[in-house]
């Protein structure tokens, strides 16, 4: 039998703890493929966030650290400044990056830190039980917006790419998704580009936002969740390259 598709070596062969239909597994794979294709496993250091992906090091077979909620861009700064030859990436959710860690991401971008940030936007706090995230869309029902998110008092969904793109220190900002194979391929290209920029020594921060499904806390089937990203979520978060 001819093997036409296989697990990439940097993605560990183990059972997943993620819920059925979760997008984390897909994005983990895109990162692992990128690392293997670029041949940088031996010089890559990853940063796992607080959130569902805290155990990212159980899946990605590279040196990894797990840090306090929201602080990956600061930790990445400490790593990259002292190890300019290493490839540093942080993997962060919307609670981590867009709520508690806004100061860290804005200032890491502002200083033009040479790091790659993979930002998973699933519009909820997954780990803690599906509470409202800054990226929750208007009308979306969550554990803490039981009547649906209202702009008054709860704010509009926070558009991180648009916010960061205006900073001179950010050199590459793109929003992708994983709702169908074509989008996954685009996301892969974006992730790889972010790593390549760092490999090339480009002066600045790269961020790839990935709209990713959370069927469990969206109370949807995995297929319906993918559809919801395409139909609803992209209205608040238009896909595309904002910079670079």
């Amino acid at each position: 039998m001819k093997t036409v598709f296989t697990r990439t070596p940097t993605l560990k062969d183990c059972p997943t703890h993620y819920c059925p239909g979760c997008g984390h597994g897909i994005v983990h794979r895109l990162i692992a493929e990128t690392i293997d294709e670029l041949g940088i496993r031996g010089r890559t250091i990853g940063i796992a966030p607080v959130g569902c992906a805290v155990l990212a090091y159980d899946y990605l077979d590279v040196d990894m650290v797990e840090v306090a909620h929201g602080r990956p861009p600061a930790v990445a700064t400490g790593m990259k400044r002292t190890n300019p030859d290493k490839i540093i990436f942080s993997y962060q959710g919307d609670g981590d990056l867009a709520a508690i860690g806004t100061a860290e991401i804005i200032h890491a971008a502002h200083r033009g830190e040479q790091i790659a940030v993979i930002f998973i936007n699933n519009a909820v706090f997954g780990m803690t039980g599906g509470q409202m995230a800054p990226t929750t869309v208007l009308g979306q029902v969550t554990a803490t917006t039981q009547q649906g998110r209202k702009a008054v008092g709860e704010g509009y969904p926070l558009q991180v790419c648009e916010l960061l793109a205006v900073l001179p220190g950010a050199i590459y900002i793109e929003r992708c998704s994983v709702y169908n194979p074509a989008q996954i391929r685009k996301a892969k290209k974006a992730v790889k580009h972010a790593f390549e920029l760092q490999l090339d020594g480009a002066q600045g921060l790269s961020l790839v936002e990935v709209l990713s499904p959370c069927p469990t806390y969206w109370r949807m089937t995995p297929a319906k969740a993918m559809e919801w990203i395409e139909k609803e979520m992209t209205k608040a978060f238009p896909l595309g390259c904002f910079k670079g």
Binding site: R41, G42, R43, T44, I45, I47, V54, L55, Y57, D61, V62, D63, M64, V65, E66, V67, A68, R71, A74, V75, A76, T77, G78, M79, R81, T82, N83, K86, A103, E104, I106, H107, R111
Partner: protein, 385 residues
């Protein structure tokens, strides 16, 4: 050099790879000095957006095996507690300098010793300890920096250097020894000093363990993971027992303290840092008056010189703790004395500094009548024995 600059240079000599800081008074000379010196040395300096970022940059650099430090003053150190807890859980070495100021809250910018509890009790969440130095002069501040980095690396712990606004700002002649000298020769610029009891003198040139846990890229080896999350049943308990065993080792090996004329004393004054300098002057004057008084000066505040104080309490003596707070180290002194002798307190909070006369007055009050050869004028004993 002022204390802040001297400690910064000592850190450079000790081989600090990266300094991360955020401005706050009264430690701004450290940040300014480091911005210039680290660039000269081709090392890393970052002025951060907050103390939260600073301590997490230390975390990042340390996770890759580099020597990293930060400095701040009380309110900024409060912000760093989250990071110190994570550093402790992940067993990463770090050096944190706290040039204490008056609190609580924004307080003021005057020297204080109000952060003793925070420093010696861990400070953040969870069961952990940090090694804490309480140097009493610029020379000792300089001498404890290389030791701080060595201890951090040896035990994979955070080491806090607890200075205060006076130490940071005052100028004293110092010897900046480029060859590491962990023996702490004379803590004062000049003059009388006590006997420094410690285990350090026995161990010149510490052998530091290799940092095989560091994140350097998994080249031809299995991945390294630096973490503080342990979800599996029993795993976190196991980590905590491991940490405690390490802390016991530190308590056994790393206590530093100075003892001055304790043997024949009837009163022992316990003080650290700048308060100890005031106590030193008061004790020397009291001795001239014929009062049998000595001092015990903890140099490491954790591990605390419990044994030394306990030993001194085996003979009947009155203990007087002097602090620039309303009594924090006092609790450790009481724990060490364990009810064997009275422990009294004198201190001033809020950035006020006790004077030599005030401490001397307190010592005179405690004099036991008839016990000294020379009667002290107007001395009214508070403690009746």
């Amino acid at each position: 050099m002022c204390g802040n600059e001297a400690l910064a240079e000592a850190a450079v000599i000790a081989g600090v790879d990266a300094y991360f800081g955020y401005p706050i008074t009264p430690q701004n000379e450290i940040t300014a000095y480091m911005s210039r010196r680290m660039a000269e040395e081709g090392r890393v300096f970052v002025q951060c957006e907050s103390e939260l970022a600073a301590i997490n940059m230390v975390f990042g650099a340390s996770a890759t095996g580099k020597r990293a430090m930060t400095s701040s003053s009380s309110p900024g150190i409060s912000l760093m507690q989250e990071g110190i807890s994570y550093l402790s859980g992940a067993e990463l070495p770090a050096v944190v300098v706290n040039v204490m100021r008056g609190g609580p809250g924004l307080g003021n910018i005057a020297p204080s010793q109000g952060d003793y509890f925070q420093a010696t009790r861990g400070g953040g969440h969870g069961d952990y300890r940090t090694i804490v130095f309480g140097p009493c002069g610029v020379q000792e501040l300089v001498d404890c920096m290389p030791l701080a980095f060595d201890l951090a690396d040896q035990y994979r712990m955070t080491v806090v250097v607890l200075a205060d606004g006076i130490l940071g700002q005052m100028m004293e002649p110092v010897v900046l020894d480029p060859v590491r000298n962990p023996t702490m020769p004379n803590p004062y610029a000049s003059g009388q000093k006590g006997k420094i009891s410690n285990g350090v003198e026995k161990k010149p040139g510490r052998k530091l363990p290799p940092k095989d846990w560091a994140l350097t890229g998994a080249q031809d080896r299995e991945q390294n993971i630096v973490r503080s999350l342990w979800l599996k049943e029993g795993a976190l308990e196991e980590l905590n027992y491991k940490l405690q065993a390490k802390y016991k080792e530190v308590e056994k090996n790393e206590v530093l303290c100075e003892e001055y004329q304790v043997e024949d004393s009837e009163i022992v004054v316990v003080a650290y840092g700048v308060a100890a300098r005031i106590v030193r002057s008061a004790v020397i004057k009291a001795r001239q008056e014929g009062i049998k008084v000595g001092w015990i000066r903890p140099i490491t505040l954790w591990p605390f010189p419990t044994e030394q104080i306990s030993r001194a309490a085996n003979e009947f003596r009155i203990f007087l703790t002097v602090e620039m707070s309303l009594g924090q180290m006092l609790e450790d002194v009481k724990l060490a004395v364990a009810g064997k002798a009275p422990v009294l307190f004198y201190g001033r909070p809020g950035g006020e500094i006790p004077t030599v006369e005030q401490v001397l007055g307190k010592i005179r009050q405690l004099t036991i009548p008839g016990s000294s050869k020379r009667k002290v004028k107007n001395a009214k004993p508070k403690i009746k024995v």
